[in-house]
Symmetry: C2
Subunit: 182 residues, 2 copies
Amino acid sequence: MEAYKSLADGRRQIVSFFYPGDMVGLPYVDAHRYSACALDHALLWRVSRHELELRALADCGLQSWIINNITRSLMASLDSLLALGRKAADERVAHFILELSRGAAERGLCDNPVILPANQVHIADYLGLTNQTVCKALGRLRRAGICRLMRSNRIWISDRSRLEKIAEGNQKASGAWKGSRG
Amino acid sequence: MEAYKSLADGRRQIVSFFYPGDMVGLPYVDAHRYSACALDHALLWRVSRHELELRALADCGLQSWIINNITRSLMASLDSLLALGRKAADERVAHFILELSRGAAERGLCDNPVILPANQVHIADYLGLTNQTVCKALGRLRRAGICRLMRSNRIWISDRSRLEKIAEGNQKASGAWKGSRG
DNA sequence: CGATGCGTTGATCGGTATCAAGGGGGGTGG
DNA sequence: CCACCCCCCTTGATACCGATCAACGCATCG
């Protein structure tokens, strides 16, 4: 499942991918701030805002759970802000792969290979790029021996430390193989 | 006051400007997720995480306040994600001016002219641009008769509806005056 | 007076978008 | 079974926006 915001001319920014157990939507807010769309079969538990607020008034544990959820969303958004505002295409893609890997690990799933939550068009809309740019960035990472695309929807990380360096802007994806060809 | 995230090579993304009454920092999180720096004299009320959690356990009102604060931060971040990922320079600047104007109105302050929270370098770091690009975008908005820079730290909005159209990507800042010169 | 920080403007460069074309795989219908 | 289509991925050529580089004006301050 994905959450996104759109402009009138069709430009779209995906702001989040959701996984089982995630909270979709913002409590205590009187208007929708984003749209959402299932990428696969999804089973949702709908809670009215009114009911949520009533229960939360009496249950601080529920409030803590909500705070934790929103806080995690906010932390992810802050990381994305840095990526969208200041990172180059290769760095964004590297960041995204690591984000998926860490998220899978946190959910107790396999962190390598990483399973992509959507196709490249959606990933591009999440990273503020085009699908062509994402494809070319993945190609550079592959040629640099850092990761490989498997079965078109999962990515094998062969060199995590270099991937992390690239994601943090300390190294070019193309550095090694471009320089080593002479 | 501003919150920001940086990369090792000095690239910086400002994620938020803070105003009196705002909550700085993320509760229930064990590590800092951003740096913060005062842009002016600032008076802070420091609350240890431990104390905050203790109080929140017994006080659902406090938790509601926290939820409201984080939620507002998250909503602003989502808007910024759309801006940084999908909006052109002029659109980001227009969006920023309106965001400032609306924020001032919410705080009961004058919404026109808008007071800039920092200099153009900081604004550029907030919008994922360079100061030169911000300056040129402001120049285009000024020449289009949409807004004017006053005393170098406040902006007069002369045509709010066109500013809103630009911020939402429905119109170019340069459209009117470029076309009307023949 | 020079030094410094900030804003402004112009020239050029580069990274990503855009445009275009083709390939592969899966589904559908003949 | 095959032909066809559609969606997605891939790759190359080109265009364009914003970054970079450079220079200057202006105000403030020591």
